[in-house]
């Protein structure tokens, strides 16, 4: 029994890592632009596909060993996914922002962009599933009846390190200060000599590159890719970010792991059909008592 619980805690940490990594992206963009970037789940999917192409290229065409492929995959996937995120911002969101469109329209544009990414993938690459190549042999360590793989440990570590990195960027750097300032008062920011567009682009680079990283880790853990893989997990990560307190990096991180834990534990002890029912009931109860989320602060509308 104890073994099962510890095993499931490890399972939950791995599953929660993906929610956390994706939730961080939602949270950064929301924090700066007050925009719910619903295309983020699909950027994650694009990240997984980019990782797939980068990995197969280096494996097959160049013939590098697995560890070297990973070392190249991480920065390349992050950079290329960031490029997709920034392109989306440039093509879809910035023109709307320039014209002073209401936030609602930008959110709907984001939904649309997500659908374009999904169906663009379907049209260009076809509906067949793709197998992500094995980069490192999965090693199973069996410690007292608890199975841990090298991959599982890597995923959890990556999530924690990403959180520490983003938290540092947002709270300790000048750019982070600018990001926080823009969400506080976007009209006063230009007066301080900060170019808002630069900050926005930087935010999209951060958010999308970590979605790309999540995509790579996800593809390594669940190696069958399909064009719709980002939709549902994106929605759930968004809810996790809201429960954590959207706009707060800590909140997104905690919310992602919380959702991962609840889902895995429900499946471990109840029939799997209860998973989403129980998981989202718990999240709903949390929001009822704390509408701003676990780490959120109430925002007051300025007049």
């Amino acid at each position: 029994m104890l073994e099962s619980i510890i095993q499931n805690i490890l399972n939950a940490l791995q599953w929660g890592s993906f929610y956390s990594l994706i939730a961080l992206g939602y949270c950064l963009v929301y924090g700066v632009l007050l925009l719910i970037n619903f295309a983020h789940g699909d950027i994650f999917m694009v990240g997984a596909y980019i990782a797939f192409f980068v990995a197969t290229f280096f494996l097959a065409a160049v013939g590098l060993p697995g560890w070297a492929v990973i070392a190249l995959c991480v920065p390349l996937t992050m950079a290329l996914t960031a490029l997709v995120g920034v392109t989306l911002e440039r093509v879809a969101y910035r023109p709307l922002r320039r014209k002073g469109a209401h936030r609602l329209y930008v959110v709907i544009t984001a939904l649309m962009c997500g659908l374009i990414l999904e169906n663009g993938n379907l049209a260009l690459l076809g509906a067949s599933r793709r197998l992500f190549p094995t980069l490192v042999e999965t090693q199973v360590f069996n410690i007292g009846g608890i199975a841990v793989t090298n991959l599982k440990i890597a995923v959890i570590l990556v999530a924690i390190l990403s959180f520490v990195f983003l938290e540092t960027v947002v709270s300790k750097t000048k750019m982070g200060m600018a990001m926080r300032a823009i969400s506080y008062d976007k009209f006063a920011i230009p007066l301080m000599g900060i170019a808002p567009d630069k900050v926005v682009v930087f935010t999209f680079i951060l958010g999308s590159s970590f979605a790309g990283l999540a995509g790579l880790m996800f593809a390594m853990s669940y190696p069958v890719l399909d064009p719709y893989m980002g939709a549902l997990i994106g929605w759930k990560a968004f809810i996790a970010a809201v429960v954590g307190g959207i706009g707060s990096v800590r909140g997104a991180f905690a919310g992602g792991f919380l959702l991962g834990f609840v889902e895995i534990m429900v499946v471990a002890f109840f029939p799997s059909t209860y998973r989403d029912l129980i998981a989202f009931t718990i999240l709903l109860v949390i929001l009822t008592y704390k509408p701003t989320g676990l780490f959120g602060v109430a925002r007051f509308q300025k007049i």
């Binding site: 073994e3 099962s4 095993q7 499931n8 399972n11 791995q14 599953w15 379907l122 076809g126 509906a127 067949s128 599933r129 197998l131 094995t134 999965t138 199973v140 069996n142 009846g145 199975a147 793989t149 991959l151 599982k152 669940y222 190696p223 069958v224 399909d226 719709y228 893989m229 549902l232 895995i264 534990m265 499946v267 471990a268 029939p271 799997s272 059909t273 998973r275």
Partner: protein, 385 residues
């Protein structure tokens, strides 16, 4: 402008009128996109091959008149609701004489209802769930049923591995895995006593993480794991099971063979067994001819979906020939085809010889194949009813 439109309309009506007199239209309700696109692709390739073969030979002769074949492909996106609308479209709009498909039970069960209501003969090549044809005189199938397949797997696992405790992991939201998992459980407990299925775990379509379920399964003391899932889910389940320390046999069912299991699963699936409709490796006679011809055109070995689609389409054509002549009244012809299908005995298909029960289900054998070290599905055992 009006005149042009009128002329256009008239010519369309005229041409379609002419087309009706000389062609036999058959509809295909198959998943070209969605969860299992490879299944749709296999179906379409088998159908195209047959179409070309028949039309190149001058068409088919029914009661003295010669008809060319015309196939209409409708994508059901691997969804139940799209399969329903595809069925209705094929029947009412495309005016097909009969329908082949849908392939998987999730779509075939609802589509069968629609085809039966609209009184159009339908043959599902690959749906093994009993509900597809149950109480539906117009609905037939080209494969064996889960109540037959389940015990085949149970007996095989008990004898081959000497297992007495089994675990099952299946998708509760899909008709095929759910039906087969329940049949398996009943048959296993019948053989080894109540409670001998020590873990009966579920998930929902599109889930990718099965770690909690597989943790329960590894801790349950089961000696064999039964996974009645489609080719796109099997690799994820197998890989995760291994990473959670599962090192005992995993067995599957016929859905493993549809689509492209080995290119998604790789080495992880080698050495496992599953029950299916036919084994391409080591086939003889007409089956070998079909395999060679298919391989020459498409560059890959036909899976069971392709073979069953081929058989089902031939079965439909056979029934059309057996009507002894079409009247041209589509409603009447559809009923005649249905009546003919119900009387088919000893039909020599490439997946075995079929005789139909009054329910529209064929009596035919199952094979157990082993995924060998080369990644081929090799014949291991045949089990007949």
């Amino acid at each position: 402008m009006k005149k042009i439109l009128f002329a256009l309309l008239a010519s369309v009506l005229l041409f379609s009128g002419v087309a009706h007199a000389e062609t036999i239209k058959i509809g295909f309700n198959i998943p070209l996109t969605g969860d299992i696109p490879d299944v749709g692709e296999s179906s379409k390739q088998a159908a195209e091959m047959l179409l070309k073969k028949v039309n190149d030979a001058g068409g088919i002769e029914v009661g003295g008149a010669t008809y060319t074949l015309q196939f209409v492909y409708e994508d059901n996106e691997s969804k139940a609701e799209s399969a329903l609308s595809a069925t209705r479209k094929l029947i009412t709009q495309d005016k097909v004489l009969g329908i082949i498909g849908p392939q998987s039970s999730k779509q075939a069960v609802p589509a069968g209802e629609a085809a039966d209501d609209l009184e159009t003969p339908m043959i599902s090549p690959w749906s093994t769930n009993p509900d597809t044809t149950l109480d539906r005189p117009f609905v037939f199938r080209g494969c064996f049923l889960d109540p037959f397949q389940g015990p085949v797997v149970v007996n095989f696992a008990s004898e081959e591995f000497g297992a007495t405790k089994a675990a099952v992991l299946y998708d509760i939201a899909s008709d095929y895995p759910k039906g087969l998992a329940e049949v398996f459980k009943a048959a296993w407990e019948d053989k080894h006593g109540a409670g001998s299925v020590v873990a009966f775990e579920t998930f929902t379509t599109k889930d990718v993480d099965f770690s909690a379920q597989l943790t329960n399964i590894t801790k349950s003391g089961a000696e064999v794991l039964f996974v009645p899932q489609y080719y796109n889910e099997v690799p994820l389940i197998v890989k995760q099971a291994k990473s959670l320390g599962w090192d005992k046999p995993i067995i599957g069912a016929d859905a493993w063979a549809g689509g492209d299991l080995m290119s998604l699963c790789g080495d992880d699936c080698k050495g496992y067994f599953f029950s299916t409709h036919y084994a391409a490796a080591g086939a003889e006679g007409a089956t070998k001819e079909f395999i060679d011809e298919y391989t020459a055109i498409y560059g890959k070995t036909p899976d069971d979906v392709a073979a069953l689609t081929w058989d089902s389409t031939n079965l439909m054509l056979e029934a059309i020939k057996m009507t002894g002549g079409l009247t041209g009244d589509i409603d009447e012809d559809r009923i005649k085809i249905k009546d003919a299908l119900g009387t088919v005995t000893d039909f020599e298909g490439i997946t075995g010889t079929m005789t139909f029960t009054p329910e529209g289900d064929p009596i035919k054998c199952a094979v157990v194949v082993k995924i060998d070290d080369a990644g081929e599905f090799s014949f291991y055992k045949q089990v007949c009813p």
